[in-house]
């Protein structure tokens, strides 16, 4: 066999992965309604992948998709009917090819042929095997077959981490817009140059001024547009969520409607990728635990079909994603009981409804009564929360018993710009992201207790730490009069952080720092301050976590 051209294979794979996601969409459409158009579209994708895979020398892929294509043709020509099994096969084929392509992306010489898949749906002559009623046995096979690729997936993900450069697909419209602006900018520049060359700046002062103004405006637009290049619509992951919901609903014999709003809202690709796992977990939870069986719903005066609504809403400071179901809702009493049983809260503690709901995000909390292989995948809500925190996201849960549950996730649209406070600590300026703070208060030293280690905040005592002590050796007590304190909340625990002065608010452009800065645990990134000096963005989470750990150990020592 000839040597494969790596680049060619890569560009094929990129294209094919894109096609496969369309494939998934068409399959989901077919599930709702069989139209010749959709079927044709599916056929075209199969044919396209077959053609180009052979062209780049991936004959295995071509051979595989050819078998699938035959089935589509037979439906098209009316020789067979589209049924549930065929649809499942199409979707399974998509899953397998996706994994297959992901491995090929890293290792273009990877040899693999999905024998197992073929064996499951086809006979030796590669003809599709029909059986109308899916027996239990067959279903078991299907879960087994699904669990196997998961192990492979883990391998793939691990491999993926090693690839540093990521390829983005960007719409030509965005690129054209950017090029246009750059063109305009260079026109303004040549006007300026011309003015100077003719040494007529004086006479043309007005022209120079307007040209400068225009350049400034264009530069600003270029900047925001270049930022937009990294943005992708959330619709891309909605489809994956629909697939996850439909797959699980089929397994559990539930009939579920999925409604999407705001799929055109854009988020930075890196953040969007991080959202997939948490959202999948949440919707699977909804399907498994939240929504009742169809028969049960009929008795509850609810529409027979359960409904999951996923909406993305653009907000001033980011994007809000809301996942709502009309299922049975969270059971306050049971959550509290479980939390007490697991020693997460004290018995007979009084808590508000919201506080009780937020218990489900604590590590070690799980209403394990009904761990199924669906939601018992070892990922708890605490992991969901952690993952979201990595991209500066927050999650809130609301629920009404018998009416449904609602998860509200707020995330920034971009990790490249953060709203932050510039503060003065020991005569140096530091940057603190606003999202990590709950409140900024002016504190009278009267409210400080226990040698300034405790601050009385609205009648509650919370530990106090001066950031100056974290950042430098200094340990002087120097609270003359009122000083600002930043209140933060990490894993449900509040901490008051003292600074010398709050200088103002700033939209900081985040610069990734070289790896050696990691030695300084307090820092999460760098930025250029308005003064042109470099500034450090403090990692409030890691500072607080370390401090709580320190408090914990010192308590144990003194006990």
């Amino acid at each position: 066999m000839s040597e494969l051209d790596d680049d060619l294979v890569k560009s094929f794979l990129e294209e094919a992965t894109d096609l496969l996601s369309k494939w998934e969409g068409y399959c989901l459409q077919l599930e709702k309604e069989l139209t010749p158009d959709t079927l044709n579209a599916l056929f075209r994708i199969a044919h396209n992948i077959k053609g180009s895979s052979r062209a780049v020398g991936l004959n295995d892929v071509g051979q595989f998709i050819h078998i699938i294509e035959d089935v589509i043709v037979s439906i098209k020509e009316g020789r067979s009917q589209l049924n549930r099994k065929k649809l499942t096969m199409f979707l399974d084929a998509q899953t397998i090819m996706n994994e297959w392509f992901a491995v090929l992306m890293l290792e273009s010489s990877y040899k693999f042929f999905p024998e197992e898949f073929i064996g499951k749906y086809f006979n030796e002559k590669k003809e599709f095997v029909e059986d109308e009623d899916v027996s239990l046995e067959a279903q078991e096979v299907s879960t087994e077959a699904q669990s196997k690729p998961l192990a492979e997936e883990a391998k793939v993900i691990q491999l993926k981490k090693e690839v540093k450069d990521e390829v983005l697909r960007v719409s030509t419209k965005k690129i054209d817009g950017l090029l246009n602006l750059i063109g305009e900018l260079s026109i303004q520049q040549s006007i300026l140059e011309n003015c100077i060359q003719q040494s007529a700046v004086k006479d043309q002062e007005a022209l120079v001024q307007s040209s400068l103004n225009l350049s400034r405006k264009i530069t600003k637009e270029i900047y925001s547009m270049a930022f937009g290049l990294r943005m992708t619509p959330v619709g891309g992951i909605f489809q994956r969520l629909e697939r996850a919901i439909k797959d699980l609903a089929r397994d559990l014999n539930k009939d579920i409607d999925v409604v999407f709003h705001g799929s055109e809202v854009e988020i930075e690709k890196t953040i969007l990728d991080k959202l997939i796992d948490p959202l999948t977990h949440i919707v699977r939870n909804s399907v498994d635990h939240g929504l009742e069986k169809n028969e049960e719903r009929a008795g509850l005066e609810k529409p027979k079909k359960g409904q999951i609504t996923i909406s993305a809403i653009k907000q001033d400071d980011g994007v809000e994603i809301i996942v709502k179901d009309d299922g049975r809702g969270l059971n306050q009493k049971r959550i509290l009981e479980k939390a007490i049983e697991k020693n997460l809260v004290k018995a007979n503690s009084t808590m508000t409804k919201e506080e009780i709901f937020s218990l489900i995000f604590l590590p070690g909390f799980s209403t394990a009564e009904k761990v199924t292989n669906v939601s018992g995948r070892g990922v708890g809500m605490d992991v969901v929360m952690k993952t979201l925190e990595e991209v500066n996201g927050k999650i809130l849960v609301g629920s009404e018993e018998g009416r449904g549950t609602k998860f509200k996730i707020s995330i920034p649209t971009s990790l490249s710009i953060v709203d932050s406070l510039i503060v003065n600590i020991n005569n140096d300026q530091y940057v603190i992201p606003i999202h990590s703070l709950e409140e900024v208060v002016d504190v009278d030293p009267v409210h400080m207790k226990m040698e300034d280690s405790i601050y009385v905040y609205r009648g509650k005592v919370i530990p106090f730490l001066h950031l100056g002590d974290v950042l430098q050796d200094t340990n002087q007590k120097k609270h003359h009069g009122v000083f600002p304190v930043l209140v933060t909340k990490v894993q449900g625990k509040r901490l008051a952080l003292g600074v010398d002065m709050v200088l103002g608010q700033h939209q900081s452009v985040v610069r990734t720092l070289s790896s050696y800065f990691e030695k300084s645990f307090a820092v999460s990134g760098g930025t250029i301050l308005p003064s042109g000096e470099p500034g450090l963005i403090l990692n409030i989470n890691s500072i607080s976590e370390k401090y709580f750990k320190y408090l914990q150990t010192s308590k144990e020592v003194s006990a």
């Binding site: 430098q472 070289s514 050696y516 800065f517 030695k519 300084s520 470099p534 450090l536």
Partner: protein
Amino acid sequence: MSEVHEDKERYLVYRIKDELYASPLLDFKEVIEFIKPKIVPNMPNYFSGMVNLRGLIMGVIDLRKKLGYQENYELKPSMLICETDVGPLAAIIDKVEFVVYFSPTEIQDLKVEGKVDISCLQGFMQYQEHLISVIDIKKFVSNIEKSEKVEQEKAA
């Protein structure tokens, strides 16, 4: 350029106090005037902080402190910028002296316990009346230990 230098490489010779050091010229991206670094907390004492070089934030290593020289530093030192495995770093030295063509094979491979970490000391070159220590600058500056007192700090 000319045949004379065929087997030779260029070295940048710089001075700290009265001693001369040399490193391969191509290990440096540029030499800049001293910019006052901004403090980065919880780093070893020879890590002077960071500077903004045309929009790029980079750490600054005070080579004089790292090599164990005591106070009384040159008031107008220079900074050598090098691209290391861990990212760009600026190294503070007293003065850039000159560039020499020198054959790497003529570097005397003598390892002595001294100010420079032995694994970064490539040897010595005898050039005119000078004895110059040759150091692997990239390796030397990028070796940044964790500040030992970080852990206890918050006890305060």
